[in-house]
Amino acid sequence: MNIVVCLKRVPDTETRVRIDAEGTGIETDGVKYVMSPYDEFALEGALRAREAAGTGEVALVTLGDAASGETLRQGLAMGADRAVLLDGTVTPDGLATAKAIAAEIEGVDAPLVLLGVKAADDDQQQVGPMLAVVLGRPCATGVVEFAVEGAVVRCERETEGGTEVLELPLPAVLTITKGAYEPRYASLKGIMAAKKKPLEQKSAIAVEPGLVVERLELPPDRPPGRVVGEGPEAVPELVRLLREEAKVL
């Protein structure tokens, strides 16, 4: 059972965002980068599926600059077998990203392609289903747990109002969210082994982005906070303010 996991290198979620001089991106100086947390869930899911199957390889694919190699190494250290770095520019246009990734995956024998449900930087939440359409494969989004059963993959997803169990024929694309797959830590042995695993770097196909960031701004500051009072005695005043000043009750 070969599985491809698509990853993205993103600023750590604890990052304080500063706008760069051009006003269209963030200041990257001093920013710590990590594997997008949802992609970690996808990778963990892939590793467990391969362990359950007993055979096959887990391949990582990312679109990004050379620094993304570090994120791929981290994935290899967790247990993936090989990695491909598609050297190219990541834009807000998820379809451009999906096309670049599809060009790589089309030639790979992997019945299952997994991605995080969204990336923790641009939050577009779209590359997975777009990739599925480009590849002509079925897709389930926001999957919390899955199991491969013969020629199908059975997925559980949380929806508004309940839990859905879906069956998709393979090959298929799944986007994974927080659920059953708490990511493992890379062992020292894993980190050492990762240095010897294949990490291929190649140019991404050029796709003209259809979405462009014209300007990036910090959100307006909220007015400084006000403490209404201490303890339950503050409740009548709080309710009065919510009703008369904020008019939300």
Binding site: P92, A96, G128, E167, P209, L211, E230, P232, L238, L242
Partner: protein
């Protein structure tokens, strides 16, 4: 030219409340571009009789696709029908960034071969073309985004674009609702407790953190939510979701949902940077925390420093009284 399509959701054969927000956003764009606003709703047989109300919220025409295979949201079936309609000459197509909309919109975009902007909080049609504003890094920054392809597809964040009543009577018209049999098969559906409202759609969010001490104490927050009533939903901090106290669906913040309710009540939440990012665009923020130095108080319009186990029941009681008094 300049026509805009609003793709609206229905549940149980009725348009959802957010449908009017999508129509309002679409109309903003259509007015800027000098075109008409059309709404598209897909569902089971009989839907056409239930969508007329969209006209009074600004839909000049209401397109309805009916079929047994569309009664329940089936991503591929819906995407096929929506793509066919959306690709027929619209300048922009607007979705709602609900769970369903976030699943549907990328499939439509990829089928049409055009990009998509998700979770839009601002629309600008004054500067010559259409630009939208959307949060990135879960709201730590906002990007003004321009489209280099047509139609321009985007989804709006719930609770941001207020519905507008517009006099007029859009006619209801049916569209070709044929679609291929979806490859994905629904095997089972386990309904969650009734009355649960998605935190991203709630107009008032009651949210709990570590300070709640134990998942057993959540009834205190549920009481407050129920006292507030309609439109109130439950949120949670990452810490309590990681601890397994609450489901991930309730998590607010960078690895959860970004929300913009009119009122956000943070109870026992200290306010980590990734949590603040996810709720700082709320209209009014209330914080209840025993630690006066907690960062949550820096963004809270109204803070109460104190023991939440004393403050919460009192607050719930006061709101019940208020509601009872009308």
């Amino acid at each position: 030219m300049g026509d805009v399509l609003a793709v609206v959701e229905q549940r149980g054969g009725q348009p959802r409340g957010v449908a009017n927000e999508v129509v309002a956003a679409a109309r903003l764009v259509a007015e800027g571009l000098g075109g008409a606003t059309h709404a598209l709703a897909l569902g089971g047989d009989g839907l056409a009789g239930a969508v007329g109300s969209l006209a009074s919220y600004g839909a000049d025409r209401i397109l309805v696709g009916e079929g047994a295979g569309l009664a329940r949201f089936q991503p591929d079936a819906h995407a096929e029908v929506v793509s066919r309609v959306a690709g027929a000459g619209y300048d922009a197509v607007v979705f709602c960034a609900t769970a369903q909309g976030k699943d549907l919109a990328p499939r439509v975009a990829a089928r049409l071969g055009v990009p998509l902007a998700t979770d839009v909080t601002g629309i600008d049609v004054t500067s010559g073309g259409l630009q939208v504003i959307r949060p990135v890094y879960a709201g730590k920054a906002f990007a003004r985004v321009g489209f280099r392809a047509s139609p321009a597809l985007f989804s709006i964040r719930p609770n941001v674009f207020p519905p507008r009543q517009v006099p007029g009577a859009g006619e209801v018209q049916s569209v070709d609702a044929s679609h291929a049999e979806p490859a994905a098969r629904l095997i089972e559906f386990r309904e969650a407790g009734s009355g649960t409202l998605d935190v991203a759609e709630a107009t008032i969010v009651v949210s709990g953190g570590r300070g709640m001490k134990d998942p057993e104490n959540w009834h205190l927050l549920e009481d407050l939510r129920d006292a507030i009533g309609d439109g109130a939903g439950m949120g949670a901090s990452r810490a309590v979701v990681d601890a397994g106290w609450r489901p991930h669906a309730e998590q607010v913040g960078q690895t959860g949902k970004t929300v913009a309710p009119k009122l956000y009540v943070a109870v026992g939440i200290s306010g980590a940077i990734q949590h603040l990012a996810g709720m700082r665009t709320a209209g009014t923020i209330v914080a209840i925390n025993k630690d006066a130095d907690a960062p949550i108080f820096q963004v809270a319009d109204y803070g109460v420093v104190g023991d939440l186990f004393e403050v919460l029941p009192r607050l719930t009681g006061a709101i019940r009284e208020l509601k009872a008094g009308g």
